[in-house]
């Protein structure tokens, strides 16, 4: 499962802990490496977790379909809904549409309360199939 993560994601401390509703469930613990203002996640670290969950879900689905593809970012919009408290954060992506050349994803991040999102992202990803 760790092969679903980039060097950046592993270095930041993001890990794949299982699956939820058919997509990889990612986690990161709070540490100084992800801290922005004292006692809260930096928005960039939260965005990194969301984006990593998006790519992990897409890689995982493409692998199931037997497609060997490179993924390239087209865009991402991150919405911050509440402060990331100094505790473990979770993220999971939903693939809204998987096409031949691109995919649209919605990613959600939460902490102890699964019903209270701390952030969400909308992503468009370019899929380049390898020959």
């Amino acid at each position: 499962m760790e092969e679903l993560l980039t060097a950046y994601a592993r270095s930041l401390g993001i890990r794949v802990v299982g699956e939820r509703d058919g997509a990889p469930l990612l986690q990161i613990d709070f540490s100084a490496d992800v801290e922005g203002r004292p006692g809260a996640y930096h928005g960039g670290a939260t965005a990194g977790l969301l984006e990593t969950a998006g790519y992990a879900a897409l890689h995982s689905r493409l692998r199931e379909l037997g497609r060997d593809a490179a993924l390239k970012p087209i865009n991402i919009t991150v919405e911050y809904l509440s402060a990331g408290l100094p505790q473990t954060s979770n993220a999971r992506a939903r693939i809204v549409r998987l096409g031949r050349r691109n995919a649209n994803l919605v990613v959600e991040a939460w902490q102890s309360d699964t019903d209270k999102l701390i952030a969400m992202a909308t992503m468009n990803v370019l899929i380049v199939d390898e020959e």
Partner: protein, 154 residues
């Protein structure tokens, strides 16, 4: 702390703030600033890569870079430290960064209201006329000051 005693200086803040926390881990550096904009540098590093096949920086740290540059652009434009929280941030990736290249985040605060701060800008890898990404975002002011109300949604 609501205010610094003197006019906000992004270079002074960078020298203190980038020693630790997420920005310290990324190794962000001050690059340049103007009246309403700040540019920061994210140096290339092997453990920040986003693609096994090519030595280019991942997009995650680029979001951290432009988020931080946005906040500092807001404080520079306001001339003082204001408590803000990122409401949303959109990044359009125009092209991958060059291999082994630093990425620069150059963000401008183009509109300030009592409740919200609006930013836009680019990420580039050396040439501001050939950006790797375009960025737009809105930040909420956590503790608005009185007066100058133009935006009433809070």
């Amino acid at each position: 702390m609501d205010r610094y005693p003197d006019k906000f200086d992004p270079q002074v803040m960078a020298s203190a703030a980038f020693q630790r926390s997420h920005t310290g881990w990324l190794g962000l550096r001050y690059s340049d600033h103007g009246e309403d904009w700040v540019e920061l540098e994210l140096p290339w590093r092997a453990d920040l890569l986003g693609d096994e096949r090519r030595p280019v920086l991942a997009s995650g740290p680029i979001i951290s870079l432009v988020d931080m540059a946005s906040g500092m652009a807001i404080w520079t434009a306001a001339g003082t430290f204001v408590q803000i929280a990122t409401l949303d941030l959109r990044v359009d990736y125009n092209r991958p960064a060059r291999e082994h290249a630093s990425v620069f985040g150059r963000m401008r605060c183009y509109r300030r209201t009592r409740s919200a701060m609006f930013v836009n800008g680019i990420a580039h890898d050396g040439d501001i006329d050939d950006p790797i990404a375009h960025v737009a975002g809105v930040f909420m002011v956590i503790r608005p000051t009185k007066g100058d109300v133009r935006w009433k949604n809070s």
